[in-house]
């Protein structure tokens, strides 16, 4: 037993590396995450990913970026680390439990904080959470030929009840 102890940590490291390789290909895991030691390799990392939902209101679809919504921080972080189908489906169900509303002046859908004391969201109309169309996660892409930067979709999952 004693002579095999020295291989324990290398085996654990190898496990995390192989898991990283697999999850990056199958579940869209950020290659910098999950202990794969693949930092400073790919441009695509969670810090450069955008996560949000599309909500339909008055026959128009609005994209709501989940960044800077403190209450949804865990969903925002986890959905960018590994946006697989299972996670996004689960997050849609969670997001349906919150209140959403329409701001006519800004022409955008906003998140209504569960607490009313600190809520300064200006809403004109409530939005039915069942109107969530889908959840999407994008990554930043750099095109070397044109030097252009744009978003490309990594994965999306539709709301089954919509």
């Amino acid at each position: 037993m004693k002579k095999y102890i020295k291989y324990a940590i290398p085996c654990i490291m190898l496990f995390f590396f192989v898991r990283n390789l697999i999850l990056v290909e199958t579940d869209h895991l950020d290659s910098w995450m999950g202990g794969g030691m693949r930092m400073f390799g790919k441009i695509d990392k969670m810090l450069y990913r955008v996560s949000g939902i599309n909500i339909k209101h008055n026959n128009k679809v609005y994209f709501v970026n989940l960044r800077d919504i403190k209450t949804l921080e865990d969903i925002y972080v986890e959905s960018r680390i590994m946006p697989n189908d299972e996670r996004l489906t689960e997050f849609i169900e969670q997001l349906k439990k919150f209140d959403w509303c329409y701001n006519a002046e800004a022409d955008k859908i906003m998140f209504k904080e569960p607490t009313t004391i600190y809520d300064n969201t200006i809403c004109t109309e409530p939005v039915n959470p069942e109107n969530i169309v889908d959840m999407e996660v994008y990554r930043i892409d750099y095109n070397r030929e044109s030097d252009m930067i744009q978003l490309n979709r990594i994965n999306h999952v539709e709301n089954n009840n919509h």
Partner: protein, 310 residues
């Protein structure tokens, strides 16, 4: 420049000669190393409110009292506390790779305390430090071969013109106007905050970086590859004798530019551990110790300061 290098060499020689007069015994070396590891955890293991509050309460007694520091159950607690957030729930929150290394080091120390006598631990820990450094860089190199944008230089073109940590280097080496780089950073921020997913913009300053991007890419692959090979090879191979040269070259060329404090400090500590030889402090170990102590200075914007004089 030559004078500065000579002065630094003389300084390291002076420290080396001084250290020879005060060789540490195995237990003193082990205590020093364990305290270095605990200092890192005290400074960096504060990812959430719970760790931020409780880690000092757990770590400070071990830093003050030797009996706690050399108690195997203390290291079991440290291993468990690090394993939960950094290894078990590592896909549920932001856990950068160096936090995995923290957990590997703590689990490794815990295993050594449980399976070996106190006087055997240090030599086993030296081997573990070599494995961790070697495999970390091996995986990093494989990862770079799996990233097409790294091999064609695109990764550094993008990173050097969008990440504010590299703006001093980019404006100094490639002569790119800092205002254009700040515009890139603002556009990236806008893209990350956008509700319009079709927004796009042209990256400023990359035309000056096409060649530099390739040079940095291949230098990185070379130096990381050499570290991986020299640390993974057994000591009987002659290349393994140069492992500290490669690691020191990596630290000197990387961390003044890419200021990743959490990774640099654990690398310096692991470098120190593997470079000590049977009660003797080597020149390489003095270098790692100096890096370990002086590392907070990387926050100084050297390139910008240099710009005032050139």
């Amino acid at each position: 420049m030559l004078k500065t290098i000579t002065t630094n060499r003389n300084f390291i020689d002076f420290l080396y000669r001084s250290s020879q007069k005060h060789t540490l015994n195995e237990q003193s070396s082990l205590i020093l190393i364990l305290k270095m590891i605990l200092l890192i955890m005290l400074l960096k293991m504060n990812d959430n409110a719970v760790l931020g509050i409780f880690m000092p309460v757990i770590i400070v007694p071990a830093l003050l009292f030797q009996k706690v520091l050399l108690n195997k159950f203390f290291w079991l607690i440290m291993a468990l506390i690090s394993a939960f957030p950094y290894l078990i729930f590592d896909l549920d929150g932001y856990v950068p790779n160096h936090k995995h290394i923290y957990a590997y080091v703590l689990v490794s120390i815990c295993l050594l305390f449980f399976f070996f006598k106190e006087d055997e631990i240090l030599s086993k820990l030296r081997d573990q430090a070599k494995y961790i450094i070697g495999l970390c860089f091996l995986f990093a190199v494989i990862g770079k071969f799996l990233a097409p944008e790294f091999l064609n230089g695109g990764f550094f073109e993008f990173t050097n013109t969008t990440d504010p940590r590299f703006f001093g280097f980019t404006s100094y080496v490639a002569g790119v106007n800092p205002t254009l780089l700040l515009e890139n950073a603002a556009n990236i921020d806008h893209l990350l905050n956008t509700n319009n997913t079709t927004f796009s913009f042209k990256l400023n300053g990359v035309e000056n970086l096409k060649t530099i991007g390739l040079i940095i890419s291949y230098w990185t692959i070379f130096i990381e590859g050499m570290i991986a090979i020299s640390f993974c090879l057994p000591s009987k191979f002659s290349l393994s004798k140069y492992r500290n040269v490669f690691l020191i070259a990596f630290i000197i060329t990387t961390y003044p530019i890419a200021t990743v404090y959490g990774f640099a400090i654990i690398l310096a500590a692991l470098g120190y551990i593997q470079s000590t030889k049977e009660n003797q402090i080597t020149k390489a170990s003095i270098f790692y110790m100096l890096v370990f102590i002086a590392l907070p200075l990387i926050a100084i914007p050297f390139v910008r300061i240099l710009g005032y004089f050139v």
